[in-house]
Symmetry: C2
Subunit: 531 residues, 2 copies
Amino acid sequence: MITGRNYIGNQLSSKGNKTYKTFNPELNIENKTVFTEATSEEIDEAVSLASTAFKAFKSVSGKQKSDFLNAIADEIIALDEELINTYCSETGLPEGRAKGERGRTIFQLRSFADLVLEGSWVEASIDTAVPNREPLPKPDLRKMLIPLGPVVVFGASNFPLAYSTVGGDTAAALAAGCPVIVKSHPMHAGTGELVAFAIIKAAEKTNMPNGVFSNLNSSGIEVGEQLVKHSKVKAVGFTGSIKGGRALYDMASQREEPIPVFAEMGSINPVVILPEALKERGETLAKTYAGSITLGTGQFCTNPGLILGIKSEHLEAFIEKLSTEIVEIEPSCMLHPNIHGAYNRNKETAVSQQELQVVADYDNNVRSNYAKQAVVTVKGDNFLSNTKLQQEVFGPFSMVVQCDDKTQLEQIIWQLEGQLTGTLISNDTEISNYPELISALQNRVGRLIFNGVPTGVEVCPSMVHGGPYPSSTDSRFTAVGIHSIKRWVRPFSFQNWPNTLLPDELKNENPSGIIRNINGKLSKETIKDKL
Amino acid sequence: MITGRNYIGNQLSSKGNKTYKTFNPELNIENKTVFTEATSEEIDEAVSLASTAFKAFKSVSGKQKSDFLNAIADEIIALDEELINTYCSETGLPEGRAKGERGRTIFQLRSFADLVLEGSWVEASIDTAVPNREPLPKPDLRKMLIPLGPVVVFGASNFPLAYSTVGGDTAAALAAGCPVIVKSHPMHAGTGELVAFAIIKAAEKTNMPNGVFSNLNSSGIEVGEQLVKHSKVKAVGFTGSIKGGRALYDMASQREEPIPVFAEMGSINPVVILPEALKERGETLAKTYAGSITLGTGQFCTNPGLILGIKSEHLEAFIEKLSTEIVEIEPSCMLHPNIHGAYNRNKETAVSQQELQVVADYDNNVRSNYAKQAVVTVKGDNFLSNTKLQQEVFGPFSMVVQCDDKTQLEQIIWQLEGQLTGTLISNDTEISNYPELISALQNRVGRLIFNGVPTGVEVCPSMVHGGPYPSSTDSRFTAVGIHSIKRWVRPFSFQNWPNTLLPDELKNENPSGIIRNINGKLSKETIKDKL
């Protein structure tokens, strides 16, 4: 069923000459399907279709959008084994992970379907008129969130379903009422095409306008660049490296009309282990962290790449235990030879810095594309003076920083780059001695975790996945959870607008039955007295 | 009481050599006070103080911030005649306007004081743990909005109180918990210093940390540039020209750590008058619009600079009436000789374009710095083909576009640049024939007005002041109303965090008594079962 062609709206198209294949890292061979990269003309066609589709799609009801999103989920389920097999063959990830990620993707789609069906997410706000106010009458003002326009989504290599073709970015944008053009990730182009097929089928079944979704193959940077610079594109979602995200951000902000880029990029996710916790359960923590560092071959954006402690015999013991535990774990396959190659290069660069001491480095032979996990240590002084040590090594790699004292630990935290998460490991009482440290850590991250591991990103309304730069380009939004819809909308206000012509969400009679803020009070009430 | 010095936190300082004076446009003479521009060292000191103050200010309670904001309002009232006289002497605006704007400024401060005292604005969201969920336990996640860090505010020349030193941007940032450094507007530096004095006095009375506010004099671009590029500055607010706002946006987005710039810039605020309305009440509309175009010497950001109609005898009659009415109005003083000079140059450039026909141009002698109002007309074809005609002429100037038909009118609207407002003038029935036109207009603006004038920006929660670029740099936020606080905050999430260490807003017992979203339901309830 995979054709290797692009979806330009609901039409398969392959006008170009540039082709590529995906790769099976477990078998260390290329997969068979030949994918044809989208041409400049096809890109333009997809964006034009999206722009036209927007005129209709922006006013589609919550019920219709909900049907569309649920239909996508149904069609993904219907892809069944073909999807799972393709996923595994393009990523080297095991079947259990593929199925788990599919479940997460479907949950996300249905969460957004529920959100738009219920409808209160538009944050309707109504201030009724006061015609006899002095010195001037107060007008009737009604506000709600409306979609921005066509959105371009760049999926992540490491989550081919939950953060890619119809991952959180796409689901949120469609829920908001924005058509989406996906720049397909070249490492899982087959998985991407199958998902695109599901979306197109769902769009047709639920009568969405043609152009509400397109999927463009791309193996280089040209397709993405043309999309981000296209005047009809109004926002960009991206998950990937700092270098890639920053390049897109720069392109978007240098346009004649700058557009928002929501890029979720690198993070080393600092973990602070306080002294008493280290003393009481350093051994258990070492085991837990050996598991967290190597989970999914270390290819999670919340992988714990940095562990901070104050030097002591207990920290020494923790490091020793972590080192022995981590090499006990069986190495696993990385997503692609390129990612594996980058891991080895980055690890080597890190390790070659003389301030570092390698305390664990898996040294048995492994199969092609399998990653050898490693742990290094560094003294607090050296970490402070060498900012390069903050660079992420994407893979099963972590660095333990041995700080001189509490003051140095706090100093290191204040000067950390922005991160997705920060974790604090503490016993019940000692934490109250570290208010400055918690304040500093909060300043540098988007989510604080107590006595846990950063890997594992719960999909729920209270999740924040995003943080200060460079963990994301705009810390004012989350990339996970239903509130990620806010990235793709803007507030819009109607003044003295006739009731019959208002969107349902703002009509006197509140036909959608949503919660609204009426003259400062939240309610589902109707308004009787509009002139 | 005006010293001409900078406030670096609560200290007056004038280390520099560069000085300037403000100007009284009514009297056409310089005012007496000599202002000393902030030096590079003073700028750095102000930012460092703000950065240190942030560590304390970010955790100050809603009650304390509310006291601070109310104290600022009180201190502004206490400035009494000195403020009003200084305002008038630096702007040429009449006393009534000064008092009205002071009232608006105080209303804004007290609105934010009420907002943070009540506290629900932080959008607290709580998802409680499900320890026995399969395959993995669900953690406890709690989210709320927290401040970004030090904010730099560039005030507007045309609203020396409501959109300047402690205008909407500053009030919103302080309410959010962000220290503010104001780059004082050189045209009303005395007004700015008086207001800064009020803020500093209020900060001291309510025990705010030193550095929570600074006021830096500046007559050129250097002070602003150094502020925007400073690594400890985390966001920027600006009201002014497209050129100025874009320059700041470019600086901010090219930083090593890009920061958000919320710039409210130019807008010509299109007004569409439908045929039946023109026929029924063209004459009244002409009178109303003559008033709106010249209100405040046309120096409002929502001034109606573009009026669109379909050609007919009624449109001709409207143009004729508008032309006769507008020259009946007494010219008034502009804010500054530079603004007056720019008005004359821009008007001349506009008028020199051969497609335009000048139908009204006040031609009696006027006093220095008084603006001669003008109205021009242009055919729809010409407007479409010459994009320069969309450039704002800041002052009492408007352009009427005579469209061939409905199709051309819609086409013109689709290709308009982004605008703050769009106004539709219609009778009760004809509006239903123009769904496409309304859709197009909505796409280009932040606020739609029915049968009114765009001048007049109500301060209320349902207001949107902002719109697609270039009317603002980020259409996802409003610059007016309590929701403008959202520009200066980011969501933050706590995972399994101990209840006693959570901010009050997220504690089980809800000591602030705010509305929270608990497991998807809004309530003020407490949580009993946290482990």
